[in-house]
């Protein structure tokens, strides 16, 4: 595994983009070898991705620090409007995904849509499903279109970790709420007098899984240990992610990014968390969660990120009627869930075979893989799980393994480890990237998979729109 990774990094950074393309078409000569010519089904509406954009993803606490979540979402929506040129009232519905909610804008979809200049006649709602929140936003849109209720829906996601709700303690909140109800001055003074220093300790948003009280990093470290993923393998994978992201950025492949003029600050046009390092540098870091013998470090984990994304989804008919050339078909998708303690981050392993089965495809049919990288250890564990007959039989009730995605098709433009991971926004980035990569690499089928807190997971098959 380790050498395989190193090779893929080396090859990728050495070859010119054309060489990569050539390599691609050489390895996968034609679509004729696919299990299916298309995933189009009679009687089922074709649903397309018209386009997708995102704000630059920034490490939290940097240039976006003074904004609010809806500002980022608004920017993504405006970017989508500009990019697609869609009339502001041609959209039937807007859905956003988010994880940590700003209490003032709990339906951030609506606040962002109003500020982005969409017609105030377009209803909007917000969904939450941890790191697959915007996936949920997109599939909700797909469902609405498939059900014939809408023709054009904007889906997106936003996360803003530079500012999170920090609450008063429960005791303090209780006192303050009672204060509202207190009728007399005496009663109010009595309540104020009951405040003790302990009341003043703030309550930070939980970083741990509610059900198990375990932080995700800790669970990732245990998962890596369970699958025997070494520290070196994780560092190598993280380095690969950063190297590939850097190359994609330098070559201008990350065309979904729209520039953002941050009020009072400079124009931001690039992700700022991409930092290819060296194995030596990375090896110096101490484990972040399991001490002292753990393997998950700050360098091989995704980091806290601010960012937003948006995609325009339509029925094929509508898109064509409006004169669009869609980028891709959104095909089958699945959600899975499993034990939130020991299998917290194994969603992709469960979701991948399931969605392939639904589509009637094999792993070899997939030309482009985009998996959400929560931790290098999580990705490598999933790859090992997918490559294990024992795991497939013992835990997934399957007769055999689905197989491990080949790394030369896998997250070739970087991933959450390097580009950043604004929880609620990552899903749309993955789908847009698949569409762009399919076009660039000349593939037909792409697969998105992601894990999420709560022990959940998601996968979606995407088909390139015929050229």
């Amino acid at each position: 595994m380790a050498s395989m990774l190193m090779n893929s990094v080396r090859n990728c950074s050495l070859k010119s983009p054309r060489a990569v393309q050539f390599g691609k078409s050489f390895t996968f000569p034609a679509c004729g070898t696919k299990s299916k010519k298309t995933l189009s089904k009679t009687g089922v509406k074709n649903i397309v991705l018209v386009d997708g954009v995102r704000t630059p993803f920034l490490q939290s606490g940097t240039t976006y620090a003074d904004l609010m979540p809806h500002d980022l979402a608004r920017t993504a929506l405006q970017g989508l409007l500009n990019r697609t040129g869609i009339p502001k009232d041609a959209v039937d519905y807007i859905i956003y995904g988010t994880v940590i909610q700003e209490v003032k804008t709990s339906n951030v979809a609506r606040e962002a849509a109003l500020g982005a200049g969409f017609s105030d006649r377009i209803p909007a709602h917000t969904v939450t499903m941890a790191c697959i929140s915007s996936n949920q936003a997109m599939t909700t849109a797909v469902g609405m279109i498939a059900a014939g209720q809408c023709d054009a829906v904007v889906a997106g996601g936003v996360e803003f970790m530079s500012d999170v709700p920090i609450r008063h303690s429960r005791k303090m909140r209780k006192t303050m709420l009672s204060l509202n109800k207190a009728k007399t001055l005496g009663a109010r003074l009595a309540l104020l007098g009951s405040i003790r220093p302990a009341h003043l300790a703030p309550e930070l948003p939980a970083v741990a899984e509610f059900s198990t009280e375990e932080t995700m990093g800790h669970s990732a470290d245990r998962l890596a240990a369970a699958f025997g993923v070494s520290r070196r393998e994780q560092d190598e994978y993280a380095l690969r992610s950063h190297s590939l992201a850097k190359r994609a950025q330098d070559e201008g492949l990350l065309s979904d990014v729209v520039g953002f003029k941050v009020p009072g600050k400079d124009i931001v046009s690039k992700d700022n968390g991409i930092r290819p390092s060296s194995m030596e540098q990375m090896a110096k870091l101490k484990p972040a969660f399991v001490k002292p013998h753990g393997t998950v470090t700050a360098a091989n984990s995704s980091y806290l990120t601010d960012g937003a994304s948006a995609v325009l989804i339509m029925s094929e008919e509508k898109a064509l009627a409006l004169g669009y050339k869609p980028k891709a078909y959104l095909r089958d998708f699945v959600y899975v869930s499993q034990d939130p303690k020991d299998q917290l981050l194994l969603g992709p392993s469960y979701a991948t075979p399931k969605v392939l089965e639904r589509s009637g495809l094999k792993l070899a049919d997939i030309d482009v893989f985009e998996f959400h990288e929560a931790f290098a250890g999580q990705i490598l564990s999933n790859l090992k799980a997918m490559d294990s007959d024992w795991f497939a039989k013992t835990y997934m009730g399957r007769t055999s393994k689905v197989g491990s995605p080949p790394l030369d098709k896998f997250n070739l433009w970087g991933g959450s480890l390097s580009l950043g991971h604004p929880f609620g926004a990552t899903g749309c980035r993955l789908v847009t990237t698949v569409a762009h990569r399919l076009k660039k690499e000349g593939g037909q089928y792409g697969l998105v998979a992601a894990c999420a807190a709560g022990g959940q997971g998601h996968a979606m098959v995407i088909e390139a729109y015929p050229q």
Partner: protein
Amino acid sequence: SVAVKSLGSSEGLKSEKYMQTTFTWTHVNYEIKGDVAVIRISDPNSKVNTLSLQMQKEMTEVMDEVMGNSAIKSVVLISSKPGCFIAGADINMIQACKSTEEVTRLSQEGQKIFEKIEKSPKPIVAAINGSCLGGGLEFAIACQYRVATKSKKTALGTPEVMLGLLPGAGGTQRLPKMIGLPNAFDMMLTGRNIRADKAKKMGLVHQLVDTLGPGLKSPEERTIEYLEEVAIDCARGIVNKKLALTKEMNMMQKIQDHVMSYSFVQNRIYSTVEKKVLKQTKGLYPAPMKIIECVKAGMEQGPDAGYLAESQNFGKLAMTPESKALVGLYHGQVACKKNRFGVPEKEVKTLAILGAGLIGAGIAQVTVEKSINTILKDITEEALNQGQHQVYKGLNDKTKKKSITSFERDSILSNLTGQLDYSGFEKADMVIEAVFEDLAIKHKVLKEVEAVIPPNCVFASNTAALAIKDIAAASKRPEKVVGMHYFSPVDKMQLLEIITTDKTSKDTTASAVALGLKQGKVVIVVGDGPGFYTTRCLAPMLAEAVRVLQEGVDPKKLDSLTTGFGFPVGAATLADELGIDVAAHMAENLGKAFGSRFGGGNLELLKTMVAKGFKGRKSGKGFYIYQSEPKPKDINPELKEIVESYKMMPNPAVSSDSDVQYRLISRFVNEAVLCLQEGILTNPVEGDIGAVFGLGFPPFLGGPFRFVDNFGADKLVEKMKTFEEVFGNQFTPCQLLLDHAKDPSRKFHN
């Protein structure tokens, strides 16, 4: 026995060993990983590892080989059994010894092996997953470094005291130095298990390792591998001096250590601990005092004296009747954790409980904890609410103690359905009724239930006194009716007494036993009859207690006489806990069934108390007055007047403190023996277990049957005959007891 078996195999091995390679051990083997030797232990004949003779022999050989190999720089010691490092010394090995000297020698051999471990020039890392108890812990603390998994099964402890022994392989000497006097005394005197996180805080282990979930191997297997990997890193770290063996201490710990180094502080600790031990054991248990003695010897006179005191006292303790009784109970408990009726045809997946009172809710709690769907039904919302709250509180207390998370509590609680009707009973595999002890009511619910349950559903009656066959008389399918007598508080009391009638089918019994075992109970199965076994033993003793009160002994004195004999709870307090109304009800029922043999005290005394509302703790007044304090403080002042009206003149010939104690105990014991004679009990083991775990019969006596064996049936009969002359047939020894008295070679336990 295990010891004999392993001895046999060792003989066969010896000859083989010289012919083949050295890797032919059966209990211990090792693998060289680079410069680290990984020694793995696993007893092929048992689910747990014990330090049997064979294990010790092989360990010594392996250690010699490892120490002699210059390529090996350090050692990891690990068990390949999931859930068990080393569970302790082999009890059978100690039991097989005939003399104090023999046991002392065993102890000295153990000390010697561990001394070699401690002084090993190559660092040895103990990698602990699962139980690390007794000799296993002593082994681990002789090693230079300890790594333990955070598994719930990982438990470190010195349970020897519970067997009337002491940690005899260096434990009394090493523990105080490692974790300090107070913690060491706490561990050795209570015998309680220490969980991994606590052990780390105490300094008992150096590093913790998480348990792993599924990977490319089963979680258990991979967790052990992971533990081994981390332990190997530690072993190398020690050799490379990257890992310090001395723990870093914060200022508080340094101050504490400094204070503890003064001998007057130590002496203060000794005397405090001694006082506490004496208060709790009433001087009836020799082991705790010997433990203190050994620690003291080591601290004051140095290691040589300490180790000598340890081995000698270990030898002495092993030969005491107290230790033999406690070991007997241990074996009995193991036996009563097995289902001798086989696997039931249908596992209980849904249990319905009628009556959400103390017992009903208690049964519900221990059932939902095992992920069994549980219906709790009562007839009023108030009672149901109370019952559901009891279950919640029981679980929430565990959350507060951090033994389960709040999420685990909620998910356990989701197995509970509280309701007022019979919906869902059509899916029940078993129904346990815990309604009021009244035959008419029991018949009524039995009929109601039988109308709604499926044909293969078991109907179990929780009753303390009503005969099961009388309850089953109303049943359409008596083969499915069984008695399940739980003890209050159900979540704390270990015993479950299962009662079968001649009509109860074997599968029904198997099903009831299986459920009880799943609920974590120690199960005895007894025949049907008024009071079955436990209640029947208790009733005559309580009747005698009432007579003692009538003779002018006050409740506090009565309590101190009973606790002085070794009962954990005094007779008067016990009656208050049980409920005076329940006691009266029980006495009346059994009195009717057994006649004057169950007489003695005047039943009217109890009835008068009930009439006045003195129903015991639950009503706030009984023999004592109960206010907010958890312990009874004062005798109920109104009791005096009642007792006065039933006053009896004590006969000075049979009224000394000791006489009173033997009057109480002999009636208990005689009834127990009679139960065996009549076939209510199948064997003496279950009789001992039932009396100790259900009724608090003094554990150091090992139960009524062990007591007869040790005390001498002849001596007991002699005492009873003296009492018989004064009080009559309540003290007439039963035939089986007389048989044993006549022939001293007859024993209940071999």
